[in-house]
């Protein structure tokens, strides 16, 4: 029996204490930085994209435990996905992969989705040739 209590579930705590992909990518192909007007958290995701695929992702987060865990999990999930696939990424994937977040913390996962999409937009702006393929998705999103 454990006599240790945690604010979040073990998966969230693990990603908070041992965040994956923390840092900045040197010479990133796309960088997105977004803030949550509601709480003041700020999240930054940088991507390395090769042949239309996310090769690597890094994050930096100014925010609470669940914001850090959400960005850690989001960067884990999107590695290896095509731009098209990543464009349809939703915060729900982060929440599920983390095994759930408290209701008041769901917006942290939304921030991760927004940071990822801002990074993808940045990539598309820098690589207009990629946008033709994704224009429809981008507008829809």
């Amino acid at each position: 029996m454990s006599d240790t209590y945690t604010l979040y579930n073990p998966t969230v705590m693990d990603h908070f204490m041992n965040p994956r992909n923390m840092g900045d990518l040197k010479d990133a192909d796309g960088v997105g930085e977004v803030g949550a007007a509601a709480c003041g958290d700020i999240m930054k995701i940088s991507l390395r994209i090769k042949d239309g695929k996310i090769e690597d992702a890094r994050f930096k987060t100014f925010g609470c435990g669940s914001a850090i865990a959400s960005s850690s999990m989001a960067t884990e999930l999107i590695k290896g996905r095509t731009i098209e696939e990543a464009m349809s990424f939703t915060n729900q994937e982060v929440v599920s992969a983390l095994g759930g977040l408290p209701p008041v913390k769901i917006h942290c996962s939304v921030l991760a989705e927004e940071a990822l999409k801002a990074a993808l937009e940045d990539y598309i702006q820098r690589h207009p040739e990629a946008s033709a393929k994704n224009a429809a998705v981008s507008v829809a999103a």
Binding site: A37, G40, I42, F62, G63, C64, A67
Partner: protein, 421 residues
């Protein structure tokens, strides 16, 4: 791992002597204080003794001016609403400071919805209320002034005796919430000129489940809980005798230990703040400097470029229990209204921690907290885009501006303004 409890403002451990005194009132002396038989009369005596012990701690004129309720929040509700309703025909205006506890603020808001008006007297950047501003806010319709003795978040000690004189001159009842100070600082309801005052025993080594209201007989007060005639008809409901007995013992012990408690806390407060301010760059103390304007048990700090909940979690994982006024910690996603009232930059309010000291804390504990916290800050700054952007001159520090880059708030507004996907 060392365990350091630094959240005494939220709760303190029960004194062993209070626990011992309480125990028989659960199992042996279980009577109801309203009963007229031996069991009832016995607990009635216990209730009387606890009233005397509380009256002595706060220098009340008489034990009959002491009422027991379920907690501090109920006492604030009773003080605010009870006085407002009792004086409804005289006027419907209240004056409170901008940094009162939520139990006061939200009681006032409740009354505002029913037609009362309220003036919230602002505080200065240290969190102090100017007695002259309180005087200026009083109108012929004012039926109550409420200013706390010590602020629950930033430890600011208000000039309650001066405010009390202002209220006495104008003939307006004065309620002093002493829930963050009683048991630590000397509380003298007569010196304060308080018509009402409330105390929270679980914050000075008494049990939870009991709050204490002092009411001077000159202050009219109507009940807000209706039922029997317990507590002189001011608070219906069976008295929580074991908790009240424990509160009485905690009050008696507090009265005998005030000086040593204060000296102990003041030494630790100095050691902790000296250590933190030396070891952690870009850290700020919120509220008055340690000294006559600040309770020695409280430190409220903001560490720049990182958020408070992450700090709190990592402290906890290292055995250090603290609180935070950051929006991420609050269920409403709002920063503490006290931090807003002192005009603290939002970026600093986000990086807020509240550390409150107690009897069992030691000098070694403080050194451990300083050393551990410095590591925690380093770890979180390593993860923070704001720290990185500060290093690169994109944003500037609020605490120690370099003159390079834009403000954190401006930057935050820019990145938040991005349309959501």
């Amino acid at each position: 791992m060392r365990n350091v409890y630094l959240d005494h403002q939220s709760a303190t451990p029960l004194l062993p002597e209070a626990f011992d005194a309480m125990r028989p009132y659960f199992t042996e002396y279980y009577g109801n204080a309203s009963s007229l038989h031996q069991q009832g009369l016995r607990v009635r005596e216990a209730l009387k003794k606890a009233r005397q012990q509380m009256a002595a701690l706060v220098n009340a004129e008489s034990e009959d001016d002491i009422f027991f309720a379920s907690d501090g929040t109920e006492c604030s509700n009773l003080a605010i609403k009870g006085v407002a309703y009792a004086n409804e025909r005289k006027g419907k205006h209240l004056v409170v400071s901008a940094t009162e506890h939520p139990s006061v603020m939200n009681s006032v808001e409740f009354l505002e919805k029913q037609g009362w008006t309220c003036t919230r007297v602002p505080v200065d950047p240290a969190g102090l209320v100017d007695p002259a501003a309180v005087a200026a806010a009083i109108t012929p319709q004012t039926v109550l002034v409420a200013v706390h003795h010590v602020n629950h978040d930033i430890g600011a000690i208000q000039k309650v005796a001066e405010i009390g004189r202002v209220c006495a001159e104008k003939g307006v009842p004065f309620y002093v919430d002493c829930e963050a100070s009683a048991g630590w600082l000397p509380v003298d309801v007569r010196k304060f000129g308080a018509s009402l005052a409330s105390f929270s025993p679980h914050r000075f080594y008494g049990p939870k489940g009991v709050g204490v209201l002092y009411r001077n007989k000159k202050a009219r007060l109507v009940s807000i809980i209706h039922g029997g005639v317990q507590e002189g008809g001011r608070r219906a409901g069976t008295e929580n005798i074991p908790a009240i007995v424990g509160a009485g013992v905690a009050a008696e012990v507090a009265a005998s230990r005030l000086d040593s408690r204060l000296a102990h806390a003041a030494a630790l407060q100095k050691r902790l703040w000296d250590g933190l301010s030396k070891q952690v760059p870009y850290i700020k103390l919120n509220g008055p400097l340690p000294g006559p304007d600040r309770i020695p048990t409280n430190l409220n700090i903001s560490t720049e470029f990182i958020e408070g909940e992450g700090q709190l979690l990592l402290c906890d994982l290292n055995g250090i229990a603290v609180a935070s006024g950051s929006s991420c910690v609050s269920k409403s996603l709002k920063i503490s209204h006290v931090l807003s009232a002192i005009g603290l930059d939002h970026a600093l309010a986000q990086g807020n921690l509240i550390l409150t000291l107690g009897d069992a804390n030691t000098a070694e504990d403080m050194d451990y907290v300083v050393e551990t916290f410095a590591r925690i800050v380093e770890k979180l700054r390593g993860m923070s885009p704001m720290w990185d952007e500060f290093q690169r001159g994109v944003i500037d520090s609020v605490i120690a501006p370099t003159g390079r880059g834009k403000s954190f708030s401006q930057h935050a507004a820019e990145v938040s303004g991005k349309p959501a996907h």
